[in-house]
């Protein structure tokens, strides 16, 4: 029998604020009942677009922040406007009701390691910043953290960087136009750094566009570094029922299987993924 997870929540929350942090990028804060189970970094939620008859499917978003207060819990989502649904979301104002389903999926595995590299492509920072926040909260001082953050330009990069929790981690920026940091793909800097890092003591957590994840996949296979990625695929249910969100994964015997991003993921060992597209 497959594992049952009874700690799921599906109920209304209320928007506390929904503010722009950079062009096209928003921080959404939702007040939800305390019954909402504490999410693990890497887990996600489905947000229903309220009062909308055309866009029927909820949208998946990584948990970016979560705090329990006296009478409520606060869930934070960091999102980029990339289509009609996220456009609609960006117009919602404080007080609006919004249904949240979550927390869903499997989060990042927290392996002990001397060095953790967080590799974020743009909005992919959302779950990684939450991961780092939890590590800082738990008082993990024995690990050195570095954040490799790639973005389109300086304005977006700075907006995103403002969401990184305060700590003594290193930030390594790259932009497409070179307006701040390295000019080019973030994986270029990572590649250089990996040359002189002891790979056994290093692990990578990554989230970002497919192109970034693909080059990362090549990089870590050459270097034999343990690397986990958070993937995106279109979703209908978010709970494993529709089989709509599958990715192709490699089996040990060389054959491949489809796995559900919403259930077996969204976080996968990067070596498992068959990158076809």
């Amino acid at each position: 029998m497959t594992e049952r997870t009874d700690n799921l929540f599906s109920d209304a929350g209320f928007i506390r604020h929904n503010r722009q942090i950079a062009p096209g990028h928003f921080l959404l804060s939702i007040s939800i009942p305390l019954a909402f189970p504490v999410p693990k970094p890497g887990q996600f939620c489905m947000l229903h677009l309220p009062g909308n008859e055309a866009m029927i499917l909820s949208r998946p978003f990584s948990v970016h922040g979560f705090q329990k207060k006296k009478k409520e819990a606060v869930l934070e989502i960091l999102y980029r406007v990339s289509g009609r649904g996220t456009q609609f979301l960006s117009n919602l104002t404080p007080g609006a009701e919004i249904r949240v389903l979550g927390p869903l999926g499997r989060g990042f595995w927290r392996l002990a390691g001397k060095r953790i590299l967080l590799v974020a492509g743009g909005i992919g920072l959302a779950p990684l910043a939450f991961f780092l926040e939890r590590e800082i909260e738990y008082g993990n001082h024995s690990t050195a953290f570095s954040i490799y953050l790639g973005a389109k330009n300086a304005e977006i990069l700075e907006g995103l960087a403002s969401r990184i929790p305060a700590g003594n981690q290193k930030l390594l920026p790259a932009t497409d136009d070179g307006s701040i940091g390295y000019r080019g793909p973030i994986t270029d800097i990572l590649k250089k750094d990996l040359e002189h890092l002891a790979t056994k003591e290093t692990m990578i957590l990554a989230c970002g566009p497919t192109a970034m994840l693909k080059s990362l996949a090549e990089l870590v296979t050459q270097k034999a570094v343990f690397c986990e990625v958070s993937l995106e695929e279109r979703m209908a249910c978010g709970i494993g029922a529709c089989l709509g969100c599958v990715v192709e994964t490699r089996n040990q015997n060389g054959s491949s299987t489809y796995k559900r991003v919403c259930k077996e993921g969204p976080v996968f060992d990067i070596r498992e993924i068959v990158w076809s597209r």
Binding site: L8, E53, I56, L57, R234, I239, A241
Partner: protein, 305 residues
């Protein structure tokens, strides 16, 4: 006051209420158990089962469309044996009727599936899927031809004593012809509709949104079409009709029942809200109360013209 009577008889399948979770949208039940007691439902139709496990189609498999979605899952499923061994025991814990939805590439495969499932303890009915638009062989091919539809139905009928429901495709010129054909071949009930074949294109890269190119349309967008077909079939056949297609609210469900459906299935709405089926059931009860209707059967086919 007398308690409300919600039970219905779907060709020998007795449901305590008319709300059924539709095949392919409810997994094998497990995913929805965290949200409510599955025993509240009239029935659960399982994901389409084939003799051998199936991988399904490559991704992307789904895309949202206005008030609906397209899917081309391609009947990924664990296969009938693993279903019986691993999934059925879980489902059987609940006080609800289990409807095994089956799919084959040949009439003989349907026959075998019916035989295997009839021996398994805990299946209450068989729903023959001759209407899946997303697989190359079988599926909709049988559903679009009255003779083939009748052949599959007769073969399954001969293998089982369980109530046999035939699930019809809307992708035909006249759905009543298929309904009449499966009725004379021994079907106990028909369920309709399965998804409508559709398509969606990403204009930026000029590629189809689905790897399968086409997919099945479901959700609120299909409701008027489904309702019209249920009404037509209700008048054409004597066996009970199960209404499916875009049902998201109790009002939707009631429309189908007034048009002639003895029971209804809820599909895509399960994705919108995992507890949709319960809300629909509660809404139906509320409506009956409000209109002082003591027995839901008074409503079935009560359309005033």
């Amino acid at each position: 006051m007398e308690p409300l009577k919600l039970d219905v008889n779907v060709g020998g399948l007795f449901l305590k209420n008319p709300v059924i979770a539709a095949s392919g949208t409810f997994g094998y039940g497990e995913e929805y158990a965290p949200f409510f007691d599955l025993g509240m439902l009239g029935g659960i139709a399982t994901k389409g089962l084939s003799l051998k496990p199936r991988q399904g189609n490559p991704p992307p498999r789904i895309i949202e469309t206005p008030s609906g979605m397209l899917n081309a899952i391609g009947l990924e499923n664990v296969g009938v044996e693993r279903f019986i061994a691993e999934k059925l025991p879980f489902l059987r814990q609940f006080d609800t009727k289990i409807i095994a939805n089956i799919f084959g590439e040949t009439p003989e495969e349907y026959e075998k599936l019916a035989a295997v499932l009839s021996c398994a303890d805990g299946i209450d009915a068989i729903e023959i899927n001759i209407s899946c638009p997303n697989v190359k062989k079988g599926g909709a091919m049988f559903g679009a031809d009255p003779d083939l539809a009748a052949e599959v139905t007769a073969k399954v009928r001969a293998e089982t004593n369980l109530p046999v429901i035939v699930k019809l495709t809307p992708n035909v010129t006249d759905i009543t012809r298929i309904a009449l054909a499966v009725e004379s071949a021994g079907a106990d009930a028909v369920s309709l509709i399965n998804t409508l074949t559709g398509m969606s294109i990403d204009i930026e890269n000029r590629r189809p949104h689905l790897a399968n190119i086409t997919g099945g349309l479901s959700g609120p967008a299909v409701k008027p079409v489904a309702l019209r077909m249920v009404w037509e079939v209700f008048h054409a056949v004597k066996i009970p009709v199960i209404g499916i297609g875009g049902i998201t609210t109790a009002e939707d469900a009631l429309e189908f029942m007034i048009a002639g459906a003895v029971a209804i299935q809820v599909g895509t709405a399960n994705f919108i809200d995992p507890a949709s089926t319960l809300a629909i059931l509660a809404g139906i009860e509320n409506f009956l109360d409000r209109h002082q209707i003591g027995d839901i059967r008074e409503l079935i086919g009560s359309l005033r013209l």
